[in-house]
């Protein structure tokens, strides 16, 4: 242990151990956050970040180890105990009730103090003004944009006057502009003497915001560093334990004909909180990658459903490989050469309880794997083994269940399953979401390889950096409207960020009306 600082850190974890059946999630982890500090917690998926955060939140009890709060040993026996100490959490997935107002949502977490709604609303407005978190306390959550919802989450947390605020991947759903304003708020909170633990995998953000970072890998603390003195590549090396070769965008080799064409596509949402698509125009040509940027909930899922055939549209509004396909079923569209990588891996892209071999059958049955209505077990297993080998999937074998794979490996498997069918058009939603750095690079390389082989690729992602890195052309979607495509090199983060927040390039308003 280094020499004790004059005042003890706000929170100090020593030798935290937490084992789950079959995995040691936290292996003697030390971590301390001082008052007034913005501390980064870095690590790939499965490195143990979430477990550590849950221990601090009192959701999970550690098997061994010591927690000190302002120098005093404490045990955090539940979420209420964490709140009493002054630990506030802002989770990655929103925990708000859509049909309630901002104030009502805050009242739910505030216990007795929540009974006086008027006072609570005033208090929310005060906090909002002080920290630059513009939110109307009387609005219903379902009408709020994602960035606003996050402000509500932070405000709800601030109502408890926390000393330590833990933010789990807070920027993954924000536009660059929203991220900048979130950082201003966090700096203000730190200046007031609060400690902030900032969990992220966006290394540039960590370098801009934090002075100290703890890096986890495989459940162990592998490094503590000052991110300002490190490069994104050197931090990535600490997280992965090996050099990561980022995928390089190269100019497309040869552009072919249009493989996907959306023509004035209108689509009503199928649930009341969904987004309607309005006059969406898009063309993707063979041999190029087109990226669609946007904050979640702006019509991406509707766009994806209209292309895959899970939602039907006027026949002429969707053309695949030149064939009007708006009324065709997903199976028909697959015959036209469409392959899809959905956003959810388990439960959509793969069946959790089924083996990898069985999961091959989900979309690849047309590859000679079914004869006379009977499944050809040998051929299916051989196909699965080919995917596992070709795409470096770490799995027990073709009979491993899908949910026994890590997110990155399962995604490689799904991608490989689709790629081996030699699609003419590949549509991928958030292809590297929640995937570790190494697997993300492998997925990007595979996508570029597929593009060079002449496939038209459409990627819908919230990760603007990813899109700028691998797309040839890029557009943004906001409230169901799509901007025109621009060349990715010429796009610029700021401009796409503005588009994502709904400020559209002049002139495109007209055709959207």
């Amino acid at each position: 242990m280094p020499a004790e600082a004059p005042s003890p850190p706000l929170i100090e974890l020593r030798g935290i151990v937490k084992a789950y059946p079959g995995c040691l999630a936290n292996d003697h982890i030390d971590l301390s956050v001082a008052a007034g500090e913005i501390h980064a917690l870095l690590g790939e998926n499965g490195a143990g970040k979430s477990t550590l955060v849950k221990i601090m939140a009192g959701v999970v009890a550690p098997d061994a180890g010591e927690i000190r709060w302002r120098g005093e040993p404490v045990s955090i026996d539940g979420p209420a105990a964490a709140r009493r100490l002054g630990i506030g959490m802002v989770f990655q997935h929103f925990t708000l009730f859509e049909s309630l107002t901002v104030t009502e949502n805050a009242a739910l977490g505030a216990g007795m103090r929540g009974r006086d709604r008027k006072a609570l609303a005033v208090r929310i407005s005060e906090l909002a003004a002080r920290y630059g978190l513009a939110v109307d306390p009387n609005r219903h959550v379902h009408g709020l944009a994602v960035g606003e919802r996050q402000r509500v989450e932070i405000l709800r947390c601030l109502l408890e006057e926390p000393k330590l605020i833990v933010l789990d991947e807070p920027t993954s759903v924000l536009t660059p502009q929203e991220t900048a304003s979130l950082f201003a708020t966090l700096r203000l909170l730190a200046q007031e003497g609060r400690g902030i633990l900032f969990i992220s995998h966006k290394l540039d953000e960590v370098r801009a915001l934090c002075r100290r970072a703890t890096v986890l890998r495989g459940g162990k603390r592998v490094a503590e560093c000052d991110p300002r003195n490190e490069s994104a590549a050197s931090i990535a090396r600490m997280m992965v334990g090996a050099d990561v070769a980022p995928a390089r965008r190269s100019a497309p080799k040869a552009l072919g004909g249009e493989v996907l064409r959306l023509l004035a596509l209108d689509l009503a949402p199928d649930d009341p909180h969904g987004t309607a698509l309005r006059k969406v125009e898009l063309a993707v040509r063979a041999g190029e990658i087109v990226g669609i940027a946007g904050v979640a909930g702006n019509g991406q899922s509707e766009l994806l459903a209209a292309i895959t055939g899970e939602r039907l549209a006027p026949d002429a509004a969707v053309r695949i490989a030149g064939v009007p396909a708006g009324q065709r079923s997903p199976a028909h569209r697959r015959k036209l050469g469409l392959a899809v990588i959905p956003e959810e891996r388990l439960g959509r892209g793969a069946v959790a309880e089924m083996s990898l071999a069985e999961n091959v059958l989900l979309t690849a049955a047309g590859q000679g794997l079914v004869k006379g209505g009977l499944v050809q077990g040998g051929a299916v297993a051989a196909y699965a083994r080919r995917v596992i080998e070709r795409f470096g999937v770490v799995a027990r074998g073709a009979d491993a269940e899908a949910d026994s794979l890590s997110g990155g490996n399962l995604q490689k498997f799904i991608l490989g399953r689709e790629m081996l069918q030699r699609p003419k058009l590949l549509v991928a939603a958030h292809p590297t979401w929640g995937v570790d750095v190494g697997a993300a690079a492998a997925i990007h390389r595979a996508l570029i390889e597929l593009r060079d082989a002449g496939t038209a690729i459409l990627i819908i992602s919230e990760d603007l950096d990813e899109l700028l890195a691998i797309s040839d052309r890029i557009a943004a979607i906001s409230r169901g409207r799509l901007t025109p495509l621009v060349a990715a090199e010429a796009a610029g983060r700021e401009r796409i960020g503005e588009w994502m927040s709904g400020t559209f390039p002049s002139g495109s308003e007209a055709h959207a009306a």
Binding site: G22, A61, A64, G65, G309, A331, H332, V340, A352, L374
Partner: protein, 362 residues
């Protein structure tokens, strides 16, 4: 301190076989205590449940006869249940199958053409399937909950049968008993063994087992059904026809139940009467789950449940055991079987709050 259920990371192979044995042991123990407490000789009671019904060839044929409708209904239901299609109305579909086949038998009464029996088999299956088509249509077209619709249609079917045998189809020479005429010889299933009631229907039911296995475990349709049951989102993504899967589940369940009804009417009963089945269609739901929705598992489960039926009757006759007690005992066995099966896949963990942190020194 509280209890928490966690899925086991890997279900050991021996557990799959050990759990039924464990359940049997627990049932025997509870049974001994139960019978002793009520003043019956536990040994004799258990013997009359498990040994006496099957200690003769005739007993074994009765077991097969009892198991036949259970097996048929459960095989059909499993097709739906694997795909989250909850057909609870096999009892009604069985009754309509008996009505359809019986109607044909009565229409050709006295003519006895040789094609009558095959036609009755087809009519029975078609009748059951038609009855099952109603909840299938309502679910696919209007998203109506099939548990409610299929269950309620069961009572409609029972009353329809009651109406027919009290009214238009009543035997004119039957002294006003609510029964149809006895079926003619050409409308009665041939016996497999003289001197018993075992008929060719049992053989057909046995042949249905490998067929169901092929459909459920080896066919592409069976795969699509399983995906629809395990992950509806994945079925939608893969473009599986979810409507057709609902239809397949109901038609399979209805046709098999209708066949079971035809076998009962044209087998041991030989006519139509207000009660065709003592609840085979409902017991088949338990049989299907006891057999883990697997065709061969269902075969074993149908034999076990049939034995419980027979054993309960034997114990009531031999020991004058009240029906409530035999019902409790039957319930115990099913409870332990399904419970131990569940615990083979999940573990119960005691979670102590607050005692874990602090330094334990590793």
């Amino acid at each position: 301190m509280r209890l928490r259920l966690e899925p086991r990371t890997a279900t050991a192979r021996w557990l799959v076989f050990a759990t039924p044995l464990l359940a049997a042991a627990l049932t025997l123990m509870c049974g001994i205590v139960l019978f002793a407490a009520l003043g019956y000789d536990p040994g004799r009671a258990l013997a009359s449940f498990f040994v006496k019904p099957i200690d003769s060839v005739y007993g074994l044929t009765e077991l097969a006869l009892k198991a036949t409708p259970l097996l048929l209904c459960a095989l059909g239901l499993a097709v739906g249940y694997r795909g989250n299609v909850w057909n609870i109305g096999a009892e009604g579909q069985l009754v309509v199958g008996a009505i359809a086949a019986g109607g044909l038998a009565l229409a050709f009464h006295g003519e006895e053409p040789i094609w009558l029996l095959p036609a009755m088999v087809v009519a029975g299956a078609a009748g059951g399937a038609a009855w099952a088509a109603i909840p299938a249509f309502l679910r696919v077209r209007f998203h109506a909950n099939e548990i409610l619709t299929s269950l309620m249609l069961t009572y409609v079917a029972l009353h329809l049968l009651g109406f027919l045998v009290h009214g238009p189809w009543q035997n004119p020479q039957g002294y006003n008993f609510p029964q149809s005429r006895e079926f003619g010889d050409a409308a009665i299933l041939p016996l497999l063994m003289e001197g018993t009631r075992l008929h060719v229907g049992s053989l057909l039911a046995l042949l249905a087992v490998p067929a169901a296995w092929l459909l459920l475990d080896k066919s592409y349709l069976g795969f699509q059904i399983r995906v629809a049951g395990l992950a509806p989102g994945a079925a939608a993504y893969a473009g599986f026809p979810t409507g057709r899967i609902v239809w397949a589940g109901f038609i399979a369940g209805g046709a098999m139940a209708g066949l079971a009804g035809m076998f009962e009417a044209a087998g041991p009963i030989g006519k139509l009467q207000p009660v065709i089945s003592p609840g085979y269609g409902f017991a088949a739901i338990i049989v299907a789950f006891l057999g883990r929705l697997n065709a061969f598992g269902i075969l074993l489960a149908s034999l076990l449940v049939a034995l419980l039926y027979l054993g309960g009757e034997t114990a009531q006759i031999d020991l004058k055991l009240p029906p409530a007690v035999t019902g409790v005992f039957q319930g115990l066995l099913l409870f332990f079987l399904l419970g131990s099966d569940f615990l083979a896949r999940y573990r119960l963990r005691v979670v102590r709050r607050g005692s874990a942190p602090a330094s334990i020194g590793v």
